[in-house]
């Protein structure tokens, strides 16, 4: 029965029940079988990468794509605590993106396995100081390789903010009540308060310092428009003027500069936070070879050039720095010599008493 026949019969009401059911069945089978067509079936053979939203952009995976024709499978998380909870609940990626300060904790929980760097040709080109980030080599075994690095600091609209001095205090400035936003995580949220409050070691606080941090966070809450993990939210809000300042990663700075929004990247007197993030191989990986392919591809110079020019994060590969135009580096606020930035500011380290801090943070966010 052709389409017009069908409609005519339907309108005239002469269609039999059997004919109608046949049509419905055909439609149903069609809809249900759409996901089964070739591409997805093939993709099931590919390894799975778990990472921050956005790292599925194809620019990161050129080497992988040239070998396998498609980018690896990708699943996104908002922050590593969320990823950790997901993995603990049974999710099994092959490789996961985490920052260096998380490594001891993940290794202790037994969810990651040592990496054999001889299987990663691109690892040899890593910037020297990124190959021995504290906490990532445990009992002589390397559990993590660095992919990228950057800063956590305040991104602000210099046309809307009157700055007396460059300080984290801007995030507590009542003049900008309702026009500030924070990152929703321990390392980039709670630690900001700890640094601003002058904790001796923000990553290993005494009980008094935790109380001080909590008070600061409580004081800050009514001034905030929202907590988020999405740089897209922050970029949109800063561009529209809904926010005047937010704690952000320097990717947001590069993105807004590209849109010619009048923003500045602060170097607070208390110190901006420097972070190094990278990749781990999961204990439960079903496709270990595939995981190595993903990791090596992310460490490749082409991924490095893409990440630095499009995202404004520093990359671990020395060759990428040779390949990229210095102008492009300066445009997104990266130094020519990576060591300048890596040696400045406060280096993110493993957080002690994480569970208590997380519970405290949840209470603060709920208004207590």
């Amino acid at each position: 029965m052709d389409k017009n026949d069908f409609l005519a019969k339907y309108r005239a009401g002469t269609m039999t029940r059997r004919e109608f059911k046949k049509a419905l069945a055909a439609f149903g089978i069609g809809v249900v079988s759409v996901p089964l067509v070739h591409k997805v079936v093939r993709a099931a053979d590919l390894p799975l990468l778990l990472g921050w939203g956005g790292y599925d952009e194809e620019g990161f995976h050129q080497q992988f794509i040239s070998k396998f024709g498609d980018p690896p499978l990708f699943s996104a998380f908002g922050d590593e605590e969320e990823a950790f909870a997901k993995i603990r609940a049974g999710f099994q990626p092959d490789a996961t993106m985490i920052c260096s300060y998380k490594v001891p904790h993940w290794a202790a929980a037994g969810v990651i396995q040592p990496i054999d760097t001889s299987r990663l040709p691109n690892f040899a080109d890593s910037i020297e100081m990124l190959t021995n980030v504290p906490g990532t080599i445990i009992d002589g075994e390397r559990y993590w390789v660095c992919q990228d690095w950057g800063q956590t600091s305040i991104l602000y609209r210099h046309d809307l903010v009157e700055l007396e001095e460059e300080s984290w205090g801007l995030m507590w400035d009542e003049r900008y009540s309702g026009r500030l936003a924070m990152i929703d995580s321990l390392i980039d949220g709670v630690m900001v308060a700890a640094i601003y409050g002058g904790a001796e070691d923000p990553f290993d606080m005494t009980d008094e310092e935790v109380v001080m941090t909590k008070d600061l966070l409580k004081e800050q809450l009514p001034l905030l428009r929202y907590y988020t993990n999405s740089m897209t939210d922050i970029e949109n809000s800063l561009a529209s003027g809904e926010l005047v300042a937010a704690v952000a990663w320097n990717e947001a700075y590069a993105a807004l500069l590209g849109e010619e929004v009048p923003v500045s990247w602060m170097q607070p007197k208390e110190g901006a936070m420097t972070w190094t993030c990278g990749l781990v191989l999961m204990s439960g990986a079903e496709d270990v070879d595939g995981a190595y392919e993903i990791i090596d591809s992310l460490l490749s110079p082409s991924a490095g050039v893409y990440e630095m020019s499009e995202w404004g994060y520093g990359h671990a590969n020395k060759k990428a720095f040779e390949m990229i135009d210095t102008k492009d580096l300066l445009r997104v606020g990266l130094p020519e010599d990576p060591n300048t930035l890596l040696n400045s500011g406060i280096f993110q380290k493993p957080i002690q008493n994480e569970p208590e801090l997380q519970t405290m943070f949840e209470e603060v966010k709920a208004g207590f």
């Binding site: 922050d79 605590e81 969320e82 950790f84 909870a85 997901k86 603990r88 929980a109 309702g178 809450l221 009514p222 905030l224 428009r225 929202y226 907590y227 949109n236 809000s237 529209s240 003027g241 809904e242 994480e354 569970p355 997380q358 519970t359 949840e362 209470e363 966010k365 709920a366 208004g367 207590f368």
Partner: protein, 311 residues
């Protein structure tokens, strides 16, 4: 004849098994209940596996404790005591109940006229109207929440619309990231669950009762209050329950449009099972929330029964 013989031989060979089968079959046919359960069994098994079992698990580990990574399986009331010791949990539960109450009220008030129109005014193509009402539900729940983010946002539809016609100079900031935004979004997201039951109860009302009321001198207003509204109350009650129960525990909507002030109990439960790595505490909060909601619903139904008797 030969066939008959064969059967007899078969029976003789396995008398016991056959006897048992016949006996079970007889029992089955005699008992209405057994047949009923057999008919229900696919659903029952399914419900047991995906509802009763996880619920039992939830209750079980709400009596455990968790030391970050490891469960301590000894029985304890710690989590329940903790719930009432810390002001945050009861207060948050109370806030969620109030917000859901507001959502329910808003949804029912907005849904009633729609259902009324559908039941009394629409004469032709009723099916089309009903389908039109469900159209927003063809997209994902998350997309609908995002749509509201776009409508209420700082540079959103409402703000930029009002600005472009000159009614507004600066964007209204109270539209998004607060409890108000959560209530609006939820009220829309659950609208169909309110419209449909109210529509059904209105549709069932005997039109001659309305005529009788008019004959006896009631105006349109009195007729509505004395005939239509009381007769549609089952629909309204069902709608209220459909909306209230699921919205108390919602966490996606508050986390997307609630900002720093619109947080609900669901967000805490979610973070206990996620970031905070404290499943037992999350379980205890969930169990207490469920019990509180159940008690509230019972009180609500009891109150309705009473008012009905008084009327």
């Amino acid at each position: 004849m030969t066939e008959h013989a064969k059967v007899t031989v078969g029976v003789a060979a396995e008398p016991e098994r056959l006897g048992l089968r016949v006996w079970v079959r007889a029992l089955f046919l005699r008992s209405e209940q057994a047949r009923g359960y057999a008919l229900l069994s696919p659903t029952l098994i399914y419900m047991f596996l995906v509802l009763a079992l996880p619920l039992g698990l939830l209750v079980t580990f709400s009596f455990w404790t968790q030391n970050y990574l490891d469960f301590d399986r000894s029985f304890t009331f710690t989590n329940y005591i903790m719930f009432f010791q810390k002001p945050i949990y009861p207060a948050l539960l109370w806030k969620s109940i109030k917000m859901s109450g507001a959502v329910t009220l808003a949804t029912v008030i907005l849904a009633y006229p729609m259902a009324y129109f559908l039941a009394f005014r629409v004469k032709r193509a009723k099916m089309t109207w009903l389908i039109l009402i469900t159209v927003p539900f063809w997209t994902s729940y998350l997309l609908r929440v995002f749509a509201w983010k776009i409508i209420l946002g700082y540079e959103g539809v409402i703000n930029s619309g009002l600005k472009s016609i000159g009614l507004l100079e600066n964007s209204l900031e109270f539209l998004l990231y607060n409890p108000f935004a959560v209530v609006i979004t939820l009220a829309h997201a659950w609208a169909a669950f309110a419209i449909l039951p109210i529509y059904v109860s209105l549709e069932k009302i005997d039109r001659s009762l309305l005529e009788a009321a008019t004959d006896l001198g009631d105006g349109p207003m009195m007729r509505f209050l004395r005939v239509t509204l009381p007769l549609s109350s089952p629909g309204v009650i069902a709608a209220s329950l459909f909306v209230f129960i699921p919205t108390v525990g919602d966490y996606v909507t508050p986390s997307l449009v609630g900002g720093t002030t619109g947080i609900m109990i669901g967000n805490i439960i979610q973070s206990m099972f996620g970031k905070a790595n404290n499943w037992p505490m999350g379980g205890a909060i969930a169990v207490i929330s469920m019990l509180s909601i159940a008690l509230l619903i019972c009180a609500f139904l009891w109150l309705i029964q009473r008012t009905k008797r008084l009327v």
